[in-house]
Structure formats: C-alpha cells, structure tokens
Symmetry: C2
Subunit: 425 residues, 2 copies
Amino acid sequence: MSTPWIHRYAQRTQRMTSSMIRELLKLIAQPDLISFAGGLPAPELFPVEEIKEAVETVLTIKGAKALQYSTTEGYPPLRDMLVRHMKRYGIVVDIDNVLITSGSQQALDLIGKILINTGDKILTEHPSYLGAIQAFTMYGADYVTVPIDDDGVIPESLEVGLRAGPKFMYLLPNFQNPTGVTISAGRRRELVLLADRYGIPIIEDDPYGQLRYEGDHIKPLVVIDAECLECQHNGRYSGNVIYMSTFSKTLAPGLRLGWIVAPKEVIHRLVQAKQGTDLHSSTIDQMVAYEVGRGGFIDRHVQHLREVYGNRRKVMLDALARAFPDPSLGVRWTRPQGGLFLWIELPDWMDTSELLKTAVKEKVAFVPGTPFYPNGGGRNTMRLNFSYGTEAMIEEGIARLGRVVTQQIARRNAAVAAVGDTITT
Amino acid sequence: MSTPWIHRYAQRTQRMTSSMIRELLKLIAQPDLISFAGGLPAPELFPVEEIKEAVETVLTIKGAKALQYSTTEGYPPLRDMLVRHMKRYGIVVDIDNVLITSGSQQALDLIGKILINTGDKILTEHPSYLGAIQAFTMYGADYVTVPIDDDGVIPESLEVGLRAGPKFMYLLPNFQNPTGVTISAGRRRELVLLADRYGIPIIEDDPYGQLRYEGDHIKPLVVIDAECLECQHNGRYSGNVIYMSTFSKTLAPGLRLGWIVAPKEVIHRLVQAKQGTDLHSSTIDQMVAYEVGRGGFIDRHVQHLREVYGNRRKVMLDALARAFPDPSLGVRWTRPQGGLFLWIELPDWMDTSELLKTAVKEKVAFVPGTPFYPNGGGRNTMRLNFSYGTEAMIEEGIARLGRVVTQQIARRNAAVAAVGDTITT
C-alpha cells in the first residue's frame, strides 16, 4: 500500500486543519454523555409524516421527472416559493436571483470558488462560522478579522479591516454561529454604508433568521442595502449584498437544501460553478421541499420550533445562572435572542481544549472556541448548542459543566494563593 | 442595478467557456424536435414504484435519522453494499476506501480540489468528457491530450504525453463519453504499466461499465493495477488508480449519488474537501439507494436496461448505415459495445456547429464535438445519444440527420465541381 503521490499533491488539504469538531464528535459518542457540541436541530421535531406524504405525492404526480437530471439553477416552483417567502422579510427579488444549493455549505463553497484566489483577504467576524472558514480556506483565503461585542461587529474596527482591502465581508447578522450575537439595526445600517463607500461586497449568511425567540425582527443587510438612499439603489435589489439561507434549520438538514440570492450576473457565475461541482441538487429532495412548503406548512412548523428551542434556550440560561461561577470570576456568556448556540468566555488563563478532556470524563461536552478564529485566539472560549438536547438533559449537562468549571477555577485560585503564601512567607 | 465588483472578481468562471451544451439544450426545447444531444437515461425505465416503496420503508424504519445530518463519508450500509458489488468485478477494497459523492460530477470536483493547482497539466483522451473538463478547468488545469482509436487511448502517444509531466491521467475505459470507445484489455495493461513507471496516478471514470450490450467485460484499470506483478502490488488494492462510478445510469440521476474508490489516505483528503463543499450527500437519498439496491433489485434492473439500450443502439447503427453517406465520402462512426453514446466524424471541411443550425430546422439535434476537446479541435465531429429516445424516434431522427448531412456533402461536391469546371474552362 503506497501512494507517494498524494503527499506531493494534495496541497490544498494540507493547508486545512483537520476538523477539530469532527474528531471531537467521535470522542464524545458515548451513550450517557450529554453533548452541547453538535449543531444539530432536534430530530424529534422533524416533520417525518409530512415529508413521507410529500414524497408519495411527488412520486405519484411527477413520477420519473423527480428522478431525472434537472436544471442547475434549481426546481423553478421551489425558487418561486422562496421569492414569495423572502418578500415577507422585505427581500424583493425575482426567480432569476435565486440559486438552489446543496445546503448552505455549498453556497459558501461556490462563493469561494468564483470569488477567491490564493492569498485573497476575506473579512470575517472574530470569531466566525467554522464551515465558512473551511470552505474559503480551500481556495487559499487569508483573513482579516474584526472583533464583535453584544451588538455584533464593531463599525470602527470594521472600517480598519476594510482598509486592509478584503475581497468581501462574510457576516452572520442573526444569532451568529458560534456566539449567538445579533448585529443591531443601527450597526447594520452603518456597515452597509461602509461596504458601499469602500466598494466591498457583503456575504450575508442567515441560516437562523426565522428562529427568533424574543425581540423584534431586524431587517437583513440585503434589504438595508437595497433601500439605502445614500447608495442610490432606489429601493431595488442592488447587489452589494449576497444573501444566503437554508432549509436545514426550518425543515430538515438531511435533504441538503439551501439557497443564494444574488444579482443575476453573479447567479450566472455561480450556476457555471455549480454545474462543474455537482450539476444540480437532488431533484426529488427539491420537489419534496416544495411540496411540504407550498401550503404554508414550514411557517407553522417554524412557529413550533421557536417555541421548543426558545424554551430550551431559557432552560440553558437559567441553568448557567445557577451552576456557573460568578461573572466577577471572569466567566461570562451571551444571551442570544434566537438561533441554536450560545457562547461562553472563561478567565483568560483557561484553555477549553484542555477543559474538554475533564468535561468528557464528567460526561458532558462542548466545542472549544479556537477553530472559530481563523487567525488564532479564543483559547478560553466555548460554544454550547441548546437546540438538540431535551430540557432535562440541558439542566443536567449544564450542572455537570458548571461543576467542572467551578472546580478548575477553585483549584487555580488555591494554587495562586499558595504561591502568594510562598512569596509572602 | 450595478455589481461592478463581479467583473473584477470572478476570474475562475471567466476562464470557463459558457457551456455550449447548456445553451444548446435551450435552443432545442421544441416538442417535435428529435434530440440526440442530451445524455439522459430513459425516464420511462426509472423504477418509480420501487423507489416509492423504498422511501416509505426508509421513513418508517429510520424516521428522523433519514432527515438529519449524517457523516461526510456516506451512509455506511450503502458503502458496504458498494464494496460487495465491486468485488464481483474484481475490485477488492473495504468500506474505508469508499466515499459517497453527490453524483460523479462531485467526484470530479473533489479530485480537482485536492489535486489541481493553477497551471497543472492533466492528461486526457482527445476527446474527453466535458463534465470533467469543466470541473478541472475551475481549478486552473491545463491539458495534455492523447489521441484515441477504436481500441482507446494509443500507448505510444500516451507515453509522449506522460513525458510532459501531467499530474494525473483522466480516462474513461468503458464506452467513453463522448465517443463510445472502449480501451482494449491489452492496452489497459500497457497503460497501467506506463502509469506505474512514470509514477503518475490514473483517475478511472466508469459510469457505464455495467451497461455492456455485446462482447466480454474487460477488467477495470484499478484491478489490473492491483494485480500487476511488475508493480509489486501483490493482488491488493494499491492505489495508483482512483476509481469512480455512479448510480445515475443504473438507478436514477435525480438522486445525485456517485462514489469514489481510493487509498485511505486519499479518501481522508477527499472527505476533508467534501466537508467544506457540501458536508455530505442527501441522507434520505443515500438510504433510499441502499434500500432499493440491497435485495439485488439494481442488478435485475440493469439487465433490463441492457436489453432496451442495446436494442436502441442497434436501431441507431442500422439507421446510420441506411441514412448516412458512404464512408468513402469521409463519414464514419463508432460502434460502441455499451454505454449511451456514439460518435460521428464527418469530412474535414464540415463544421458541426454550423450543421446543427440546419439540423434544428429539420427538427433533429446532436452535440457538436468541439467542447469535448480541451485544447481545441473536433470541428467535424458530433456526439449522438441512443438511450433517451424510443426506437421509432431514433429511426426517424437518424433519417432526418442523414438527409441534412447528405445534402451538405452533395452541395459541397457540386460547388467543388463547379469550381473545377470554372478552372478547366
């Protein structure tokens, strides 16, 4: 068994770090371990019966058409349904602005494929979504990272980043993965103006926008850009923002269906790229998504998801307040208004990759924050998912994790005190 | 509406030629036109009822699991089924050598992604499969092309090509798309030895291997390489050949399912690349393919396809013999032993892109050969598909096409004669 050539050849993947999360998911596959590490929607909420009915209908009515090759752009009734759906959120586009992708991961890949050349700088939030970093890094991206606070990316820092000449900004305005942070309405307007002034496009990744559990909906960047008078777009879809979303969180991730909204000339390039990538997304899965969605079922289903996930989020926040050390000890976490994740910062001296080993022994797991920082950092951070576990699991898991963190801090404080004693005596 | 940045940015797609076939398929969407242009399997043969039953079973038994995220490598029972299936053809591998892809187009994309850097040379047959050229060109490939004859790629020419230092060879040994030509057993051995001697891996693309209508099965390159004593591989899977195939021709293309066989360390890189590309292929579609295939249905179905497609091929060959000009006039075509396509060469002075316009007026269409030549050429060639149309359509379509070609040749001969008259008088 020898394939010497692969070591000479596979430069792209050599540059990729082996996915930490992936290795981790293997480690934590223990039945009695409570994992907050995944990013999975709750499977017990999947509309299995509705999908079963939809497949039956599609194969009865469409027959062989559901199994044949189809157009790269995607199933027209599905794209049309998305146009109507997005209109309610103020995104006014037509069907030729919409490309169906094989999950939003493919949207990221196609954007990387048409836009990134080796050495190009991409501006991201600090931290940002790991899947995007993986997709862009395959095309040789370097990163300009911009710090965020509880209102999202900080405009003054963003402008500093823009001066570094990034090719585009990649932003997750709603309940960002990994932090759960949302960019405020005021900042959204500021950053759209900055993007326009610097002539740098924005990729707006919005997988969770519909999963808001409190507060009011905030206009997406793509709408603010279209309405921007200073940018002279006159309330029409203008094209400095590429918007993307997915059915993975509102219907089912196993179907691998997402979509991109972009100006027609950008869609044209993305279609060329997708043609060489997988020809088109599964014909039958697209027809099923349309069949399930066309009567309004997905809207009703999302209402239900909001309720269940909203409760789980509340249970996690309450459990954190009970089980975690006091903020005065350098421990803080975000309070996301939606989405699937929250984010914890521990004292500077802590290393969550090390902490994870102890946590796994105590039968609880999370994702250490470092892989979300393309330029390094975040050793003392972690991401917790609150959509997958039941409320009881969340309470128990946070209690376990709280004990682990509390013990580590107590041990360190004791050690510091002992050193202090040694020095003073 | 202005997106000036896209023109500055999208270098990769600028290099791609807009897909000629794609544009063409729009042109020929007329109800009474007989098209040999597509590469579509016959939809009336799709096992709609079997797939309907399989989806019902999968959603009943697997439930939410069929709709959840799943592993990048693919559904283990499906990979295991493929291992058993391939064993019958002498490909002895285990499950860790198999990666499920979103159609074999994605296999080509992932191979390009991990192996090709801008300016790398890739060796292909001349002509070769358009989809591979599209996938590889996105990563900046240049091409070393090797002529073929009725026994496939010519070893002497191949060796000349290998001296140019290509990164890998991309070959379609069985009923090649576009020509229908098969590489003979003797040549397969020669080229495996050459690959070994020059240390250059082979990508063996085999979408049609099971669709053989006459003659005996010929060992795949991956088997010859494994058995090669001179290469000292001792009858084990050695890894100088990456093998790929698909469910698109034997089950249904709309599911977008293919697979790659490669050494584990290559699979590892491909998995990393796929993770950044689309996370994984549709969970439910993979489970359905397994459910349909596990009891042996696909084998029985392939028997049926062989019979129908074999007859259609015979009808097309007979019709060509009746309707097309005599070989002495510089017209010749291949006699494929399997697959979906045959290939016609017309006299040197003919341009099939021009001819197509006339043909469309006569309500018949084909694919001009030029897009299959990555370094140019083939102006006088065309590809015909014989799997999609019924026997009656094939007879009528070839009769129409024969008239168009015969008329063009007669007109030219008359013109040449007139010029001759002018000169001699």
